[in-house]
Symmetry: C2
Subunit: 424 residues, 2 copies
């Protein structure tokens, strides 16, 4: 019945994931795969594997006709792209976990797959152990995908969990995450949202058939979240999560961003604690479906890589069906969001950008407002990321129609608010 192809692997990189994969392969005898060579940068470093497995010369792998699968597990996104490109061009299938490379080169990589017929799989690059790409690609392949909301970065989620559950300060929570190895050595990539943004860029391809320019996606991280913001969340029976979001609006266009968000304590996303990841997929008829699992770490990531390798033995490939639809989807910034804004100085808030402000508090210890703002105004400005301003979207933040909003704005104008009045 099924043809189970014999795989000969060449691995690039022997860091935590590479070494994890080496272990996992040794414990998976039923997979018809042989590891032939591992390419590493520093050949003199001591490794937990036989020395003859290693080389520092990438061409030894790429020019080896026996090797039919390249597994790319290195950090450097540019070098990774060169390797993956050359591997695909020589007809080898590729498994990669490099989210940055995918976020920056997916269009070229699509073209290369088409041109060469070789397959590129990368389940490990988003949510590690959760098979979210495979499910979006294969199972949610119809036009009923309402929304997708996800926690895709384990270290920010770990920090937020400690802030809420153990009342740690942001700084101490970050130190703990770093000690446990959940945060990158350069924590900016995690904490300021770059890692989540990279993942979201290509997840939108599999969710909605979009190929967004990551420079144009609106995002931030959790760097400005204060204990005061956490207290305000608690008052609303919420926690704060860094949520990667996409929603199909009534006009058929797609709203997408990566921003901190208030999440009701009984929401599925609130169930995701510590370094875990989770994805909530809402489809028109099936209500919400929730996928949850370890989003980082050596073995969970290696296990996702292994599932991709196993899929290659059956000639699996992403078909990118949603990209090839007649009616393609389109991103839009033409909608409103309701947001909480914490701040220290009222002058740093562009209050005129708001359509309405529903709530504001300003005293010695608390400064915040909750208002409705056009998304384009967030996307094209950065005041809300600077000067200790913290932005947290409210639960269910997207507002498509302005009718009700306009009335509220008018009522606030009548109440004497607007036009630059300082409240503090």
């Amino acid at each position: 019945m099924v043809t189970h192809k014999k795989l000969v692997l060449g691995i690039f990189g022997f860091g935590v994931v590479g070494e994890g994969l080496y272990k996992v392969l040794n414990m998976t005898p039923s997979l018809n795969a042989t590891l032939k060579k591992v390419c590493i940068k520093h050949p003199d470093k001591k490794r937990n594997a036989p020395a003859e497995l290693f080389t520092a010369d990438r061409q030894i792998l790429l020019k080896d006709n026996q090797i039919n699968v390249i597994v790319e597990l290195i950090d450097d996104a540019d070098a990774a792209y060169e390797i993956v490109k050359e591997a695909l061009l020589s007809g080898k299938s590729v498994v990669s976990a490099n989210k940055k490379m995918l976020a920056e080169h997916l269009i070229e990589l699509l073209e290369l797959q088409k041109q060469t017929g070789a397959s590129l799989l990368y389940e490990a690059a988003c949510c590690a152990s959760i098979p979210v790409i495979r499910n979006l690609e294969e199972y949610y392949d119809n036009d009923l995908l309402h929304s997708i909301n996800a926690v895709v970065n384990g270290s920010t989620n770990y920090i937020l969990t400690k802030i809420f559950d153990e009342k740690l300060s942001f700084k101490n929570a970050l130190i703990q995450a770093q000690q446990l190895g959940f945060a990158e050595s350069n924590p900016v990539l995690d904490v300021e949202g770059y890692d989540a943004l990279n993942k979201w860029t290509f997840l939108l391809t599999h969710a909605y058939g979009l190929l967004p320019d990551k420079e144009k996606l609106c995002f931030t991280g959790i760097q400005s979240i204060t204990s005061e913001d956490a207290r305000q969340a608690e008052k609303k029976e919420c926690v704060i999560k860094l949520v990667a979001s996409a929603k199909k609006l009534q006009n058929g266009k797609v709203a997408a961003f990566v921003l901190p968000q208030f999440v009701k304590k009984d929401d599925q996303l609130a169930f995701i604690k510590n370094e875990y990841n989770g994805v909530v997929i809402e489809s028109s008829f099936a209500d919400k479906q929730f996928f949850y699992g370890k989003g980082a770490g050596s073995l969970p990531t290696a296990s996702a890589v292994l599932s991709d390798i196993s899929a290659l033995s059956y000639d699996y490939r992403y078909e990118y069906k949603k990209l090839n639809r007649e009616e393609s989807n389109e991103l839009t910034n033409d909608f409103y969001v309701k947001a909480y804004i914490g701040f220290t100085d009222w002058d740093h808030i562009r209050k005129d950008d708001f359509e309405s402000i529903e709530e504001w508090h300003s005293n010695e210890s608390i400064n915040y407002l909750i208002g409705i703002i056009h998304f384009e105004k967030l996307q094209t400005s950065s005041w809300w990321k600077e000067n200790n301003v913290s932005l947290v979207l409210t639960a269910d933040p997207i507002i498509e129609s302005l009718d009700i909003v306009k009335l509220k704005k008018r009522s606030l104008v009548l109440a004497g608010f607007s036009g630059g009045n300082h409240l503090s």
Copy 2:
């Protein structure tokens, strides 16, 4: 790139799911599928669809060469089998939601698929909207599947949720479930575990490549669970769930059953409330992954059927890879479980069957014990399902080795317990 096959559908059944599918199809223009005919039992009943769509003659669908997909959504498992068989034999692909038919006829249906080359998909038959079969088949296709634990029956879960969260009696909770349409008109199928057993039978095929005889799988439902059992669960910071379980033991064999179980309140399974379903998959390296969603209802089920139809347009089929492995898995009853037993009369308990009894209470209002018993002794007896005896496995119930257990039994013997002493 992808060939998107034109589908012409014939549907059997126009009950809640059939009508749901009709609606969903009308709202999914991108799916290249036309509904040609619906076969129903009672042609005179008024339907929310054009009259010319309906026929009571099954041959009109089965002999129509244009129809290339039969969607089987009827109740009667025997009639369903006849229809599916004839459809496959005439080269039509089939989508079914009939768990009873699958549990009883999977072996013949496998043979028919092989013989005809036609594809039979049935994602909707287990956990409705959760793509559990597809994930087990495609993503967890390696020998690393540690365990799978699932809540697969929505109505028993609804009843248990009401007993725990709202302190309803079993009887009142059942009435509510029936009023809301979550329970079958014959509640015995849900409440006594038959529905969960049917689903588990073929889920074991996709999880472990097993083809179990459902008559030999050990199961019960929640019919004997009392408020007192619920109170004991609360004391242990647990809830009670009807859990379908399978675990690969250290000897490589698989333990599998459907039994009520204490579930710690912070366990993923405890997150599943009301009519929802959920599946926790544990693999050796990826830790636990949790899939959660609506497990019943017209539209969630129809949406799963739709995803199968959509998959057929790309010629998708289950490859049953795990069945075709060289080293196949095997079920075993040779292990121990730790169980809580509630009872009204001590004489109804076969206490000599226990290897050890760790805890017992007996007074006017409470009668229970917690002990370790060989699984074979449960599987081959029924005292624990009769005479108001309730069995609930403890959290993490499987014990593979007896060394520690033996010591404990000895200590209980020394303490004067055993050999039929009555404690009440």
